[in-house]
């Protein structure tokens, strides 16, 4: 590519950006962390001192250039310092998921041959000690919280603050070496290695260079006009590329402050206290928050409830338009302003979104109602599409062009093309260097011209030019007539209904689509209570004709919405049944991260699948179940199979797979 090996102004590495920030933004806050009930603050100048002390301490411990340093813990300033200190001495930080089991850590630490680890507390120390024997290259471990560790053998175990103290003491001895190593870093040196979570097979180490991180951070920061005045709350796993980009890449590029919550449980309170201006959360977080709001409003007094309903209806009607700067009548604007004083403002403040200027969600599909709820309050929530291999950004939604069903336009500097089979490919300055010690995967993912396969199928929408992601490319199939079959897309639409917990859509190689549906016991149970429907078990509730009627209306609504989409109108669900048991990871029907295993389910419930397609109206079935303690049992039931109304599809365009 045409980039030079050095960025403008000599800012070719994160440590170089740190030096700049320590001079330019010396007295401005760089990190905050709530501890002992108070927000503790470090300015950029102070942070630089802390990082330097740690870097000197690492030199003192014998860290070599090119060594891998594992970082294991929750979001704390100390760990961000650790990453930058490791970079400063020419080592490569490898953040790990702190909740991974010892076995998974062993795999990653062995794969990268980590010599050092910087960890949170006794829990993490114990995990690493458990697997230490298998890690031939592993030497020293540094921990932050000394609690419970006093009696441990400290030959190769060090307390974070002691390492820093030793570093300060050895300042004169090592400072020249540190400066030399720091200055050697350029755009081509490795910035960080992040392991992909590995839903398929073993985790892969994605190597990202300073160019990848800084270019991705720079262009995305310009895209959203991020400045040094932003406040972010760092609460997402440090091993995830997004946190690295937001809390290090963009924070160092722009010079804004990273706030760390007191603990995972206090995140909601801390969010409110900080009031971030730039915020990221996966859809699940927004969904939970919305549910909490709704539950609390159910318990509110009559006047408050009436005000809330009245103004939220107004917000849903005009809020998104006002946010997008579209024409709205003066009267509507005035009502909205009143609502802002009475409802929207206080609500946003309670949620911690009072100051959000740019908010993003990504990772999976977000329900349109959830998305619109936040947008209508005036929160600029947008979607992006990305992955570790791209240093996050592939597409972004520009302000004013935000929709729940697209992921936006190519991010600055990113080229995108759609392959014949519908798979999305991209090429950008953020594109990863290679998978560590895995040339084969590197070659199959990234071609010599730098194009990377995302593994997702999608298409560009005509008119808006926005990318729409449909499904994992390997899940996309063809129906009997050769039209594209995208099960996940339909399942997501079904799952947007609170009453539907899971859905499995079949149709690959068949004439029409059919679905298994799992009801959500909480939502449907609540509904049953309100409607005086008695039930003794999940199974009984799932078989209740009124529940089936309700699910049928949901399915038909999804069908109507699918019919409007020329690409996917033929994926309408013709027949469905409600399963008599919840799909469960213990039975192998889902992965531990709650993704349905279509193949396993198709085989296990072969009889049910057959019944969906042979026209029968009910079927008796017996299923083996595994209880939590590992015992096995079986349940049997007679399931109703319903036909759902479909909207006839007339003349429609050919699909991209053509």
């Amino acid at each position: 590519m045409a980039q030079s090996s050095q960025a403008a102004e000599g800012l070719g590495s994160i440590p170089a950006l740190l030096q700049r920030n320590a001079k330019q933004f010396a007295d401005r806050p760089a990190y905050r962390e709530k501890e002992f009930g108070i927000w503790q603050c470090w300015t950029w100048a102070e942070a630089e001192k802390e990082i330097e002390a740690l870097a000197l301490g690492l030199l003192n411990l014998g860290v070599n250039e090119g060594d891998f340093v594992a970082i294991i813990g929750r979001n704390r300033p100390h760990f961000y310092w650790s990453m930058v200190a490791a970079q400063s001495v020419g080592a490569i930080p490898v953040p790990l998921y702190q909740d991974s089991a010892a076995e998974e850590m062993a795999y990653v630490m062995d794969h990268c041959g980590a010599r050092f680890a910087i960890v949170q507390d006794q829990e993490q120390v114990d995990k690493v000690i458990d697997v230490q024997d298998r890690l031939t290259q592993f030497e020293h471990m540094i921990y932050i919280d000394p609690r419970g560790l006093r009696k441990y053998d400290h030959h190769k175990l060090h307390q974070f603050s002691h390492v820093q103290a030793q570093g300060r003491a050895a300042h004169d001895e090592f400072i020249t070496d540190l400066k030399a190593r720091r200055e050697k870093l350029d755009y081509d040196s490795i910035c960080v290695m992040l392991y992909t979570s590995g839903t398929t097979g073993k985790p892969k180490g994605v190597v990202l260079s300073n160019r990848n991180i800084i270019e991705a951070s720079r262009s995305s920061a310009e895209f959203d006009k991020l400045s040094r005045d932003e406040e972010v709350l760092a609460y997402l796993p440090m091993a995830w590329v997004g946190d690295f980009i937001f809390s290090i890449g963009q924070a160092y590029w722009c010079g804004f402050c990273v706030n760390c919550p007191e603990s995972a449980e206090t995140m909601q309170t801390d969010l409110r206290e900080i009031g971030p201006t730039y915020y990221f959360a996966p859809p699940r977080v927004f969904e939970t928050q919305l549910t909490n709001v709704m539950i609390r409003m159910e318990d509110a007094g009559r006047i408050k409830k009436w005000l809330f309903d009245r103004f939220m209806a107004h917000a849903r009607r005009v809020g998104p338009a006002i946010l997008d700067g579209k024409p709205v009548s003066a009267w509507d604007r005035m009502t909205y302003a009143l609502g802002n004083v009475l409802i929207y403002g206080p609500l946003k403040d309670t949620l911690g979104f009072g100051r959000v200027r740019v908010g993003y969600t990504a990772g999976e599909a977000i329900g349109p109602e959830i998305f619109d709820f936040y947008r209508s309050l005036g929160i600029n929530l947008k979607q992006l599409y990305g992955q570790t291999e791209a240093s996050v950004f592939i597409t972004l939604q520009p302000d004013g062009e935000v929709r729940s069903d697209t992921v936006g336009v190519a991010a600055p500097g990113v080229e995108i093309r759609i392959a014949e089979n519908g798979e999305v490919y991209y090429r950008s300055p953020g594109t990863f260097e290679y998978y560590y010690k895995n040339e084969e995967s590197t070659r199959s993912t990234k071609d010599p011209e730098g194009w990377v396969a995302t593994g997702d199928a999608g298409f560009f929408e005509e008119g808006s030019g926005h990318l729409r992601i449909i499904d994992r490319a390997k899940d996309v199939g063809k129906m009997a007539d050769g039209k594209m079959f995208a099960p996940k897309y339909v399942e997501n639409k079904l799952k947007f209904f609170p009453n539907i917990l899971e859905a499995v859509v079949f149709g690959n190689g068949r004439k029409e689509c059919a679905a298994f549906i799992n009801i959500d016991l909480n939502a449907v149970g609540n509904w049953a209570e309100r409607n005086n429907i008695g039930y003794a078990s999940y199974q009984e509730l799932a078989g209740n004709p009124k529940v089936l009627d309700m699910i049928q209306s949901h399915v038909e609504e999804v069908n109507r919405s699918l019919a409007e989409d020329p690409m996917l109108a033929h994926c309408q669900v013709h027949r469905f049944l409600v399963l008599h048991k919840e799909l469960d990871a213990d039975d192998g029907e889902m992965t531990r991260t709650r993704k349905v295993r279509r193949g396993v389910i198709g085989e296990k419930y072969e009889d049910l699948l057959g019944a969906l397609y042979d026209g029968s109206t009910e079927i008796f079935t017996t299923t083996e179940v595994t209880y939590e303690d590992g015992r096995k049992g079986s349940i049997s039931a007679t399931l109703q199979i319903r036909d759902a109304a479909v909207v006839p599809v007339g003349e429609h365009r050919k699909v991209a797979a053509e």
Binding site: E35, G37, R147, R150, K151
Partner: protein, 273 residues
């Protein structure tokens, strides 16, 4: 005072246990005609975790109440830090650095966790009524200092997320933890725990065990605990006193106690004469 043992010993995991800090000598406690405790003697050493176990009605809680000064035994004496302790009110005992938790949680349900734990600092608040009322000078300074100490305990017991939650809304396991926090806030030298794990599930028990060990390790607090769960007792304690029907039937390390015939009989049930 005679034969104060200052030697101490070292535990298997390398902890240093100091000399005797409290000694119970021939304690007898009667309620009317009922003999709750009869002629029991044992000692508590500095920095150790000392358990009192026994079947229901063995007199364990009575024993703890004698230590905390709630009951005054008819016979026998309590020797604390080498001195015979005169008859005392519980608050006087508390001032001597002995804090406790209760079998059936005794917190202020309507107050927040933070306020509850703050009440544990009462011993460290000396400002006058007027100063407290207008919250100036010494009162303000004291509150800041005490809040800091309390925040450290909140951090230690990992209850930051419920800092501002009224105790009445908390689940049982957390209430137990708040009670421990309040006892710790008093910076006791001896901590009395009355069935700290009662009614907890396995996970909560594991958490509580870890906190008890950490308290002992971090602050060097001597801990006396009553517990039903034998597994927990045997794992946690350095030495165990076993009571049955108000009598001491065993005293020693968990291993010694486990192999003591009288103890086995008491637990498996042998006819009493």
């Amino acid at each position: 005072m005679k034969d104060m043992d200052t030697q101490g010993y070292t535990t298997a995991d390398g902890r240093k246990i100091g000399g005797v800090v409290m000694e119970m000598k021939n304690i007898t406690l009667r309620f009317g005609g009922v003999m709750a405790i009869s002629n029991i003697s044992f000692d508590i050493r500095e920095g150790e975790i000392r358990a009192i176990i026994g079947p229901n009605g063995a007199g364990k809680s009575s024993m703890l109440n004698v230590i905390s000064g709630f009951y005054n035994p008819q016979e026998g004496e309590v020797i604390y830090k080498g001195q015979k302790r005169p008859q005392m009110k519980p608050y006087q005992v508390a001032r001597q650095g002995i804090a406790r938790t209760f079998q059936n949680i005794a917190l202020f349900e309507g107050m927040t966790v933070l306020d509850n734990v703050m009440t544990g600092r009462i011993r460290q608040m000396n400002a006058g009524l007027l100063a407290q009322a207008i919250w100036k000078g010494k009162a303000e300074r004291e509150e800041t200092e005490n809040r800091e100490a309390v925040e450290k305990i909140i951090d230690f017991l990992e209850i930051q997320h419920i800092r501002k939650t009224p105790v009445g809304r908390l689940p049982y396991g957390l209430k137990k933890r708040v009670e421990l926090a309040r006892a710790l806030a008093a910076e006791p030298s001896i901590l009395l725990l009355d069935e700290p794990m009662a009614g907890m599930n396995v996970e909560e028990k594991e958490d509580m065990s870890r906190f008890i060990l950490d308290v002992n390790d971090e602050f060097g607090t001597t801990i006396v605990l009553i517990e039903h769960d034998m597994g927990v007792v045997m794992d946690l304690s350095d030495r165990v006193v076993v009571m049955d029907y108000g009598k001491k039937i065993g005293d020693g390390t968990p291993d010694e106690v486990r192999n003591n015939q009288a103890v086995i009989d008491a637990y498996l049930g042998v006819a009493h004469d």
